[in-house]
Subunit: 222 residues, 2 copies
């Protein structure tokens, strides 16, 4: 079974790595990191690069199509080559997996019309423009589409997807293997539960992660 994780300039690394750490360990899985052009792809922080060791031209089909989010994802919603590749691979996939605003890119490709999807908290109002209905769940399945809330939710969603693919015993072993019995230091469970001043900080964090800000940040020298 093949897992193809599509990355792009300005993706958020944990969006991609959270689910990768689960799904790539499923028995018999072949995992590949894919970008339009092969090479090192800079993450949103500009302090980290991941190697996309396959280009779009080398990947014609896949079993699991995985699209992470990140501030660079907004540009991908208008990138016709990226969207066409998503449509092509989705036509062959058994599962299509979106994390955070990566779900929005799937939406922009027209893949979520009439479907319900989870996504980043701050993206929820934009889903309707893609003909999709927002689910506030941490992850959600609609047919072959498994979508998740922001960033770290890719871990939870991937564990769920792992159980669908390989059964509960394997998924449980993976959950315990990565010691995912989380104990976050703070009790708030969603941005709206946070005190107002914290909510404002998060909003600022989200805004500062926009693509304009991204463009202004220097990238590591590879």
């Amino acid at each position: 079974m093949r897992l193809s994780i599509l990355i792009y300039d300005g993706f958020t690394t944990l969006d991609a790595v959270g689910g990768y750490e689960i799904l790539s360990r499923l028995p018999g899985m072949e995992t590949e990191f894919v970008a339009a052009t092969p090479g090192v792809i800079a993450a949103d922080t500009r302090a980290l690069g991941l190697l996309a060791w396959k280009g779009f031209d080398e990947v014609r089909s896949t079993d699991i199509l995985y699209v992470p989010g990140g501030p660079g994802g907004f540009a991908m919603e208008k990138d016709e080559r990226f969207l066409a590749k998503l449509r092509d691979l989705d036509a062959t996939s058994t599962w299509t997996f979106g994390v955070c605003n990566g779900v929005g890119i799937l939406g922009a490709a027209g893949l979520l019309k009439g479907r319900t999807a989870a996504c980043n908290w701050f993206y929820q109002k934009r889903l309707a423009a893609h003909g999709a209905t927002f689910s506030p769940a941490r992850y959600h399945r609609d047919g072959k589409y498994v979508t998740t809330a922001g960033v770290s939710a890719g871990i939870d969603g991937a564990l769920y997807l792992a159980s669908l693919i390989a059964g509960e015993a394997v998924a449980k072993a993976l959950q315990l293997g990565i010691e995912y019995y989380p104990a976050p230091p703070f009790p708030e469970k969603a941005p709206l539960e946070a005190p107002k001043e914290i909510y404002a900080l998060i909003e600022g964090f989200e805004k500062s992660e926009g693509r304009e800000q991204l463009a202004q940040r220097p990238v590591f020298e590879a």
Copy 2:
């Protein structure tokens, strides 16, 4: 403030990226990925490479020294150049952060003598050989040393460290920014709570991640 994340052949990506996704976003943080020799470093799965864009020679001091674990970490425990670099950087750091069996590498460098530390569930009995006492906590602070349980626990430990560095409001905003209100699909909270057959699966998973197996696995073609 500078964050230096040391990676090496066969590290586990989520060990490094979980905490990176938090700490790199602290206001004013400069983050660098460092390896003995700069270049793409292959993770344990051999399906992912991260760019170490600084070599040991370029990094003489740091504020936060961050050491992830992974099956390749066992070789680092005997790698005198790696251990010497840890000792040098630790001598300058304000905080030293270890995840999973990355804590064991800190131990092998002699940095945890007489200290208490958290670490990977399957590493706990080996801590004593480094003169350290195992803590079953998800993360633990002993002086400037913040150590965590396996893989995903780096997220929790980094949020805790973020609160020590930048205060609770910022750490809370980061926790909510990465939507870390986890909902793991399965209820077991530690390997020993798992049914016997699942525990056996995890043990197998840990054993199959040894460095001998690592050496036999083909690496992506960069």
